[in-house]
């Protein structure tokens, strides 16, 4: 196979199905977000801020071994079923090839077919959450106990605008309930962290979030 062919094949669709759908939606809605201007870390939209959550869940890309118990533990606790596609912590989508998907140089990129770095994505419980600002139904509110930004299933109509708005691809419309899902912090004891066999998932207090995220980004950048 020639190099040109390889490039053609590799780059046809380097994103997940959810990201693909999201980008289609963006185009249709004419509401594309310029990702380059987003802060690397917890994102802030222009609009109103909310009371901070107690903390956020973060996955250590060095300790994560990609067993994905977190995904089924998440949906067992929150949904009573096994459903990684809607898990609020997303490891599977980056498992084989990292965030960028398979590139020409995949053997040295992130992921299990690369340098073994597994990048789990989690909700940042943003100060001014794009998901809340995007929701036309006012269906995302701040949980009284944990401060998590949570979806009110009675109000949610499954339009998917929160999924489109989130720069971390966390909210996901459950195709079986047609309601969106996002991290609830599990009433203060996140099931993903509790069940992680390598302690790679931590529920981190807000004041420590920034330096942990910077460390994480450095580890990913370095790979």
């Amino acid at each position: 196979m020639t190099k040109d062919n390889e490039e053609e094949n590799f780059m046809q669709r380097p994103t997940t199905r959810r990201e693909f759908l999201k980008k289609s939606f963006e185009g249709a809605a004419g509401a594309a977000v310029s990702f380059s201007i987003l802060n690397l870390f917890t994102d802030s939209a222009e609009a109103k801020g909310f009371e901070l959550a107690d903390g956020i869940v973060i996955v250590d890309p060095v300790k994560c071994t990609g067993c994905r118990r977190c995904e089924t533990n998440c949906t067992a606790f929150n949904d009573g079923k096994a459903h990684p596609y809607i898990s609020r912590i997303k490891v599977g989508q980056n498992y084989n090839f990292g965030k960028s998907g398979p590139t020409i140089n995949y053997q040295n990129g992130n992921g299990h077919l690369g340098d073994f770095t597994i990048i789990g994505e989690t909700c940042r419980q943003c100060e001014s959450p794009r998901c809340i600002n995007a929701c036309p139904m006012d269906a995302i509110h701040v949980d009284e106990k944990t401060g998590a930004r949570v979806i009110n299933k009675d109000k949610c109509v499954g339009c998917g605008r929160c999924a489109v708005a989130c720069p971390y691809d966390v909210p996901t419309v459950d195709p079986e309930t047609e309601k969106s899902t996002k991290c609830t912090l599990c009433e203060g004891e996140p099931a993903c962290a509790a069940g992680c066999p390598t302690g790679a998932i931590r529920y981190i207090a807000w004041e420590d979030v920034e330096h942990v995220l910077i460390e994480r980004e450095n580890l990913i950048e370095n790979n």
């Binding site: 196979m1 062919n5 390889e6 094949n9 590799f10 780059m11 046809q12 669709r13 380097p14 994103t15 997940t16 199905r17 693909f20 250590d60 060095v62 300790k63 071994t65 990609g66 067993c67 994905r68 118990r69 995904e71 089924t72 533990n73 949906t75 067992a76 606790f77 009573g80 079923k81 096994a82 459903h83 990684p84 596609y85 599977g92 989508q93 980056n94 498992y95 084989n96 090839f97 990292g98 960028s100 998907g101 398979p102 053997q107 040295n108 299990h112 077919l113 340098d115 073994f116 770095t117 195709p175 079986e176 069940g195 992680c196 066999p197 390598t198 302690g199 580890l219 370095n222 790979n223």
Partner: protein
């Protein structure tokens, strides 16, 4: 299967000849659970005996069971059933892989994928939930597995899980693999995909797998398993003294300890002290690299890895910059024989570094070409043929002189680069090393000494080696090594006797499960056959096929022991039944589920009888090569210090196992009564029509 959960409910059928894609309900196979059970039921029903493995009429079934995808620990196995090209009679068999493939298949809505026919040109199968299509694979044909996987994911989306063959499978090498996620290989059926012009299967699933029980019960059961699980192979004591541990055993795979690191991780990661109650450290318990790759590997270890849903991380992911000079990636991941196979090919290496490079380079090359090594046998076959001057006789001089034997003599890793390419591309006479041991022995006219020399490690005239046989509790391991049509992928017994617990405790637990402490012997200090051993062998086999049907990893389950002193080290053998009941909503007891396992094992036996056209399994199938009985000439069987077996005792052992399974004690074939009892009247009728029931002839 609307009334039951766990199962996805549908089976996907793809006919490559006609291009037709259809689904059918899983419900009709529910008595056979899933995985292996579905595979055998479809092969029995649909593939006539005397079919050649590479014929269009052969089928290949990728199947999982009701537990896969649920998130129950250790449930990501994929069971693949088809005829076995490397078996000299092409008898049916399974190959198995871990990874993330079968959970994704379940999330896409399928319990199994049945591949039929032969595509007119290379294709790959694309599955996105209900959208299934055959895609042109012309550009993929000829690529290795790693690039194929990346290309398919590039076309589908990065989250796709892919199973693919390499050049070995394309070229219909008998000893070839199907591989998923970089290093999870199923040995023996790569050539079947190749013969069908099917290069890869890519899956994206966005649906759920539901369980019948309420979530509280489900989560509690998972948490209970996390509390009694051990290390890899359910080793429940650490390998070195630990502050929390009453016992230790140097052979345990619970190797975590202070001062032992994932030495090539980007941050300091110490395996450290991992007491059983700290379930957030389960994944550190098994630092497998030092077991497979030696102490040298610690500094190269990036992390451990493994399958979806499994807290036990038994695969070693190592970064070896030195590999780049051989033209492969520095990042290698594998476990056990995935590394050791290459030690057996290149046995002359002397330095620890060369052995390390042979194992890691060999893994990288073999996983890309998709080569299988028949549980290490390929390397021993090469050594036998070389040492006995056979290669000089059978290889044309030009070919012989073209092979860098000087590198082989030194155990230089570069030799693998040369040899594996020849086998994968079927270049020259040497490539027949990939035919399988029995076919090779015939082609190259190996003498009786080949079969009967203990160092060659052969077990069966069917051409497979010892895999936890007479060295594993004497008659019990020996019996387990007789029943299948390849090396037994059975660890039920091995996990139990390898737990690391003192023999006194093992005997107590054995007594509770199999009725007598006599079920197990002190290693290499064997006693004659007895009923408890027959029960132990039956239990091991039945649980093995249950696991391959549910699908659960038999390298961890059954959890008959635990690391918990407060439980007096007892595990829980009811877990499979609890999981099956809670997942499906079909409430079964431990005994009832074991009977379902016996049904599947009996179908395997019936299929073997049908394919061989032979009732007398005892003498025509369940055979053991002579060294097992003739080794250690200065010792008698049952003397301390030998694993030598006794011929008469072994025949008695077969009789007792056959009886336990409800098979004819004389021939070892399923009886009409047993087939009725197991609800397999159609199998009985077909065997009766072919004069293949015991007492008929």
């Amino acid at each position: 299967m609307p009334q039951y959960k766990g199962w996805a409910g549908k089976i996907l059928r793809v006919n490559l000849s006609s291009g037709s894609i259809s689904t059918e309900k899983t419900a009709k196979y529910k008595d056979y659970i899933g995985g292996m059970g579905i595979g055998y039921r479809i092969m029995w029903n649909e593939v006539p005996e005397n079919t050649d493995p590479f014929d269009e009429e052969n089928k290949i079934i990728f199947a999982a069971g009701p537990l896969t995808g649920t998130g129950a620990p250790c449930t990501a196995r994929t069971n693949i059933t088809s005829l076995l090209p490397a078996n000299p009679q092409n008898l049916i068999g399974d190959s198995h892989m871990g990874g993330h493939f079968s959970p994704e298949m379940k999330y896409a809505g399928y319990d199994a994928i049945v591949i039929e026919g032969k595509a007119p040109r290379p294709v790959w199968l694309k599955i996105e939930d209900g959208n299934v299509s055959l895609e042109d694979a012309t550009k993929l044909w000829g690529q290795g597995i790693f690039d194929t996987t990346a290309n398919v994911a590039g076309m589908m989306g990065k989250e796709a899980q892919v199973a693919a063959i390499g050049q070995a499978g394309e070229n219909q090498v008998n000893l070839s693999t199907i591989m998923t996620s970089g290093n999870h290989s199923a040995g023996g059926h790569g050539g079947i995909m190749g013969s069908k012009n099917l290069k890869a299967i890519g899956i994206i699933g966005t649906q759920s797998v539901e369980y019948a029980s309420d979530k509280k019960e489900w989560i509690e059961l998972n948490e209970f398993v996390m509390s009694i699980i051990g290390a890899n192979n359910q080793h429940v004591v650490p390998s070195t003294p630990q502050p929390w541990a009453e016992f230790h055993d140097s052979s345990s795979r619970w190797t975590a300890q202070e001062g032992l690191y994932w030495g090539a991780a980007d941050e300091e990661v110490e395996t450290g002290i991992c007491p059983p109650e700290d379930t957030n450290k389960i994944g550190y318990r098994t630092m497998k690299a030092i077991k497979d790759l030696g102490a040298i590997s610690e500094d190269y270890t990036v992390r451990m890895g493994g399958c979806q849903s499994c807290p036990i991380r038994c695969h070693s992911s190592v970064e070896v910059p030195e590999l780049e000079k051989y033209g492969v990636s520095r990042y290698v991941s594998n476990t056990c024989m995935g590394f050791w196979n290459h030690y057996y090919v290149n046995q002359n290496a002397e330095s620890e570094m060369d052995n390390f490079l042979n194992k890691t380079l060999g893994a990288q090359l073999a996983d890309d070409y998709g080569l299988w090594f028949n549980y290490g046998q390929l390397g021993r076959d090469l050594k036998y043929a070389y040492d006995n001057g056979i290669l000089k006789e059978v290889l044309p001089a030009e070919e012989y002189n073209d092979i860098p034997w000087d590198l082989y003599e030194k155990g230089d890793p570069q030799f693998l680069v040369d040899l594996y390419k020849r086998i994968a591309y079927q270049e020259g006479e040497i490539s027949h090393l990939g035919d399988g041991a029995a076919q090779l022995a015939k082609r190259w006219n190996f003498g009786e000494d080949y079969w009967n020399d203990q160092t060659n490690s052969l077990w069966s005239p069917l051409g497979y080696p010892v895999h936890h046989a007479n060295e594993s509790n004497g008659q019990v391991g020996s019996l387990i090594n007789l029943i299948f049509n390849r090396d037994p992928m059975c660890h039920s017994h091995q996990n139990f006797i390898g737990s690391g617990l003192p023999i006194k405790l093992q005997k107590e637990i054995a007594s509770e499960i199999w009725g007598s402490e006599d079920a197990i012997d002190v290693p290499a200090n064997y006693t004659p056959m007895n009923l408890a051993k027959a029960r132990f062998a039956k239990w091991s086999l039945v649980r093995n096929v249950l696991h391959d049907s549910m699908t659960v990893c038999n390298w961890m389950f059954p959890l008959a022991t635990s690391p918990l002193k407060e439980r007096n080290y007892r595990g829980d053998t009811t877990l499979e039944a609890q999981y099956f009941s809670k997942a499906t909503g079909m409430n079964v007891s431990e005994e009832e589920l074991d009977e379902m396992g016996r049904r599947i094992l009996t179908l395997h036996r019936a299929m073997t009888v049908k394919q061989m056209g032979e009732v007398d399994m005892r003498n025509e199938h369940d055979q053991i090569v002579d060294w097992v009985f003739d080794m250690d000439p200065d010792k008698e069987p049952f003397d301390p210090g030998t694993i030598k077996m006794d011929r008469d005792d072994m025949e008695k052992a077969k009789t007792m196992l056959y009886q336990e399974l409800g098979w004819d004690p004389k021939t070892g074939a399923p009886t009409a009564e047993t087939l009725d009892e197991l609800g397999m009247q159609d199998v009985k009728r077909e065997l009766a029509n072919k004069n293949l029931l015991p007492y008929q002839a």
